[in-house]
């Protein structure tokens, strides 16, 4: 069985990102920076109606705009529009300004439908307009029961009931979705802003009816995805069609406005939870009903199901008697997509809120209550370590007992990322040159997580070189295939693969050079003996060097101004495990990032739609608030390094518990639960009875 070296020089140390120089000098070319010879701009015309029947699209006038080289419809004939922002047609031209003019010149004959539903609480009613004709928007949901819930509630010493809701959150990577596509007789090349070069290649090949070998996808640098950038997308296919028609490469990047409408989001959740525990704090009964919307993605199947709105309930904790009923609600809005730890942040918010509410009712310390009911030994230790580092015992006060009008409070929550696990199909190769230079080529992509750096660190460790001596190339479908960057699986997929390549490379190099150990100081002498032919070594993911799942806990301290309702996060302590740490520095960045994204989910972020017009009201950064640098609290990251578990990913678990911990801290500060995210000043003031409550959602 292979094993990681016990003594390491680079693994588990801090290695600065190997592609940082390109990024800090502006030399890094992202998909949106590609200037292929004779390239054109592409732009998409989107529906201004939330529901309509498109009868006819006339592109003639658009084609006559000076500079316009191509114009295509999304499809021929009549078709239905199901959300505001759905794609209708696209143009390509020599300037952005020409494209803007051309979009205005496209004539669309349509029958707008007055009947639509964008509010999940309205859409789930029996008489609601149907998003998919002939199918109910919401499935009735089938309850799953374990034990005897009704009887168990009678045996509880304390029971709470709560209704916890979370909003639709939008990914909003800084680089929008898009591609530069060149379609010639030789085939298609797409410089794609994607988390999955292989899935984009296969998607384009399938839709454009080309051999997969005729589609080449390149992603040298990409500006974030968070789960929303796996496929070629409608925009990728349109860019290809425009390129074909114009006989020129087309760069089609979405606008920030487009980004808010059509390329994914995290489903909402409305969680009715009843939970009871025995007098000693043992959870005993759990009864929950949850629904949420995944936009038009919910309801695409036989009715209501699908779309990813379902949650893992009762999430982390062991409850012997549980009953859970869930459904997805279709609405006239852009479909949900995977979003950093799909399903987990909302599940964490609902369950961890209920945990604190029940702890208060039982008169138990929330950390003690969790230790009593958490079945995972690693996470119980993390709760203990976190509580100590955070100063939980010293800081904890009874809910609402903080004096003054600015009240402080603390809260905690746990995470699990069970789905993870490596991609066993990962492959890669290294080319070792006679001059001792070495290049690794893997068909994965670095989405900002530090994939290239991980490859360099592992290779340097194994070959006895320095990370800067390793040239790393990723993001090209001509390289041996690797997985999409999702599910926090990349690190655990590539690290064992690089290990395997290095082991094989050393064996072959040592044989060819007749040297017993080619590592470190012998490296260059050994390589020289290759003569004129470089050594190319292929490797695969191997068993025994990676595992899953990952856990983690976070503690939050907040200040709540009871006059203005403003919540300020003062401190976060995050304790996470991800097996063997590869690079502490980039790992810390990812944990910080997860926390800050979770903070946005807790306090600021929500897609707001207008029930009457069916439009998204905040498709921009002025009104869809992301956390800024001044909002970011003091963050302390504690990492458990567990080499014996092998490599595990971290991207997703780090964002799971933040919102729940902050929400619990707010409840602890003011003594009242704000049971809906984001926790805006208006909701805080309403909870305090200082302003009327907004429309009650039932």
């Amino acid at each position: 069985m292979p094993s990681w070296p016990a003594q390491t020089k680079y693994i588990s140390q801090s290695t600065p990102r190997v592609d940082a120089v390109a990024k800090v000098t502006g030399k890094a070319r992202y998909s949106s920076d590609i200037q292929a010879d004779g390239w054109l701009y592409g732009m998409i015309l989107r529906s201004k109606w939330p529901a309509a029947k498109i009868l006819e699209i006339n592109l003639d006038k658009a084609r006559q705009i000076p500079g316009i080289k191509a114009a295509v419809k999304v499809r021929d004939g009549e078709f239905n529009i199901r959300f505001y922002g759905e794609e209708i047609a696209a143009v390509a031209g020599t300037t952005k300004q020409a494209c803007l003019d051309a979009l205005r010149a496209i004539e669309v004959k349509a029958e707008p439908r007055q009947e639509f539903a964008v509010n999940e609480n309205e859409a789930r009613k029996d008489d609601a307009p149907q998003v998919w004709a002939g199918r109910p928007n919401a499935s009735p949901g089938r309850p799953r029961e374990r034990g005897n819930v009704d009887q168990a509630f009678g045996e509880c010493a304390a029971v709470i009931e709560g209704f916890y809701s979370t909003p639709v959150q939008i990914h909003h990577p800084m680089e929008t979705h898009g591609n530069t596509v060149s379609w010639t007789d030789e085939g298609v090349t797409a410089w794609s802003s994607t988390q999955g070069i292989s899935s984009v290649r296969d998607g384009l090949a399938g839709t454009l009816q080309l051999d997969q070998s005729k589609v080449h996808v390149v992603t040298d640098f990409m500006g974030g995805g968070f789960g929303a950038k796996f496929g070629a997308g409608v925009e990728g296919v349109l860019a290809a069609q425009l390129s074909r028609q114009a006989k020129a490469p087309v760069r089609l990047m979405l606008t920030r406005f487009d980004q808010a409408l059509a390329v994914g989001n995290r489903p909402s959740s409305f969680q009715k939870i009843k939970m009871g525990a025995k007098a000693d704090g043992t959870l005993h009964a759990f009864d929950a009903e949850n629904y949420g919307t995944a936009g038009i993605g919910a309801g695409g199947d036989a009715g209501g199901g699908g779309g990813g709105a379902a949650l893992t309930m009762p999430y982390l904790y062991r409850v012997p008697n549980t009953r859970v009923k869930q459904s997805s609600v279709a609405v006239n809005a852009g479909s949900a997509r995977a979003f950093r730890a799909p399903g987990n942040p909302p599940a964490s918010y609902g369950m961890e809120s209920a945990m604190d509410d029940l702890a208060v009712k039982l008169g138990m310390d929330p950390v003690e209550f969790r230790l009593k009911n958490d079945p995972v030994e690693i996470r119980r230790r993390e709760f203990q370590i976190g509580a100590e580092k955070f100063g939980w015992k010293e800081k904890y006060q009874k809910p609402g007992s903080s004096p003054g009008f600015v009240k402080t409070g603390i809260g905690c929550a746990g995470a699990a990322w069970p789905a993870g696990g490596p991609s066993r199909q990962t492959q890669g190769e290294a080319q070792i040159n006679p001059d001792g230079s070495v290049e690794f080529r893997l068909g994965v992509q670095d989405i900002g997580t530090g994939t290239k750096t991980v490859i360099a660190v592992v290779a340097a460790e194994m070959l006895g070189l320095k990370p800067e001596q390793i040239t790393v190339k990723v993001g090209d479908t001509d390289f041996p295939p690797g997985p999409g960057s999702g599910g926090s699986t990349t690190c655990a997929s590539i690290s064992p693969t690089v290990y395997d390549i290095c082991t094989k490379a050393l064996q072959q190099l040592q044989t060819r050079a007749g040297i017993a150990d080619a590592r470190g100081e012998n490296w260059f002498a050994a390589c020289k003996k290759l003569g004129v032919t470089p050594l190319v070594v292929h490797g695969n993911w191997i068993e025994g060097l990676s595992s899953n799942p990952a856990y983690g806990v976070q503690f939050a301290e907040v200040a709540v101004d009871t006059e203005t309702g403003l919540v300020t996060v003062k401190k976060i302590v995050a304790v996470h495990d991800c097996g063997l740490i590869i690079d502490t520095l980039t790992l810390e960045s990812q944990v910080n990032g997860g926390i800050i994204m979770g903070m946005g989910y807790a306090l600021y972020e929500e897609r707001v739609m207008d029930d009457l017009s069916g439009v998204v009201l905040n498709p921009n950064f002025e009104t869809y608030k992301l956390p800024g640098i001044a909002d970011v609290p003091d963050i302390k990251v504690v990492l458990l390094n567990m080499p014996e578990r092998g490599v595990i990913g971290i991207g997703e678990p780090a964002t799971v518990p933040t919102a729940a911990a902050i929400a619990n801290a707010v409840a602890n500060a003011i003594g009242i639960r704000v049971s809906s995210l984001p926790i805006t000043p208006a909701k805080v003031l309403a909870a305090l009875g200082k302003v009327p409550a907004p429309n009650k959602e039932t």
Binding site: S12, R17, D19, A20, V21, A22, K23, V24, T25, G26, K27, A28, Y30, S32, D33, Q35, Y41, T95, K96, Q97, P173, M174, T176, M222, G223, G224, F226, R256, R381, K389, G448, G450, D577, T584, T586, E588, S589, Q590, N592, G593, G594, I595, I596, M597, N620, F621, E622, P627, G628, I629, A630, V632, I635, K636, V637, V638, L639, L640, N641, M642
Partner: protein
């Protein structure tokens, strides 16, 4: 903070442009752009440009760029799409994210909110113009050392904001760094490292708060 004001920007600031429109333009508002231009010529107002492409001269990173641009082309668009300077990024195209931040005579501005013709006569610095002869500036080096970047798309904007701050105030406090970066967004959540890097570049030794426990 981000607007150097019309005085610095030559004759084509928004204020003078709007003033020049006068009443003539009101009647022409609904008409085509060409007729607006014609009305203005007739009114004998200031010389107008466009709507066709006009010669524009920009001084970027010490070099002169001679371009032909429609007057409605922004500085960001001119840099990214009419030259090879793609370092400044487009994140929103409406003054909300700061990824397009460049320096105009040492002041950080959103290049998406500045017409290219307005930027004539200014010294424009983009992220590509910082490192000299391959040597990174202190700010760039600190961003590398402190891992003040993840996907890196917002990085050029943050680097320009921090660079502008340190030119004006070489020893900022943490709050002053936060203020200077208030107009820049990062979705990867790199902010703690950005703050650390800015202070590091200003000579304050930053220490990581991360603790690793072998368990």
């Amino acid at each position: 903070m981000k607007n150097p004001g019309p005085e610095k920007l030559g004759a084509h600031s928004r204020r003078t442009f709007l003033k020049s429109l006068g009443t003539a333009a009101v009647t022409a508002a609904a008409a085509r752009a060409q007729s607006v231009a014609a009305e203005l010529e007739k009114a004998g107002a200031e010389k107008t440009f466009g709507p066709g492409a006009v010669p524009v001269t920009l001084k970027v990173n010490g070099k002169t760029l001679k371009l032909k641009l429609e007057p409605r082309v922004t500085l960001l668009d001119a840099l990214r799409n009419y030259s090879s300077l793609t370092g400044a990024k487009e994140g929103c195209d409406r003054a909300a994210c700061g990824a397009c931040t460049v320096l105009l005579d040492d002041l950080p501005v959103y290049s998406c909110q500045k017409l290219a013709i307005e930027a004539q006569g200014c010294e424009i610095t983009t992220v590509e113009g910082l490192a000299k002869n391959g040597k990174l500036t202190k700010v760039q080096q600190a961003f590398w050392d402190e891992d003040a970047l993840q996907c890196g798309y917002c990085t050029p904007g943050f680097i320009m904001s921090v660079t502008a701050l340190l030119k004006k105030n070489p020893h900022p406090t943490a709050d002053e760094v936060k203020h200077a970066c208030a107009g820049n967004l990062c979705r990867c959540g790199t902010h703690p490292h950005i703050l650390q890097a800015a202070l590091q570049a200003a000579g304050v030794n930053a220490t990581s708060k991360t603790e690793v426990i072998y368990a």
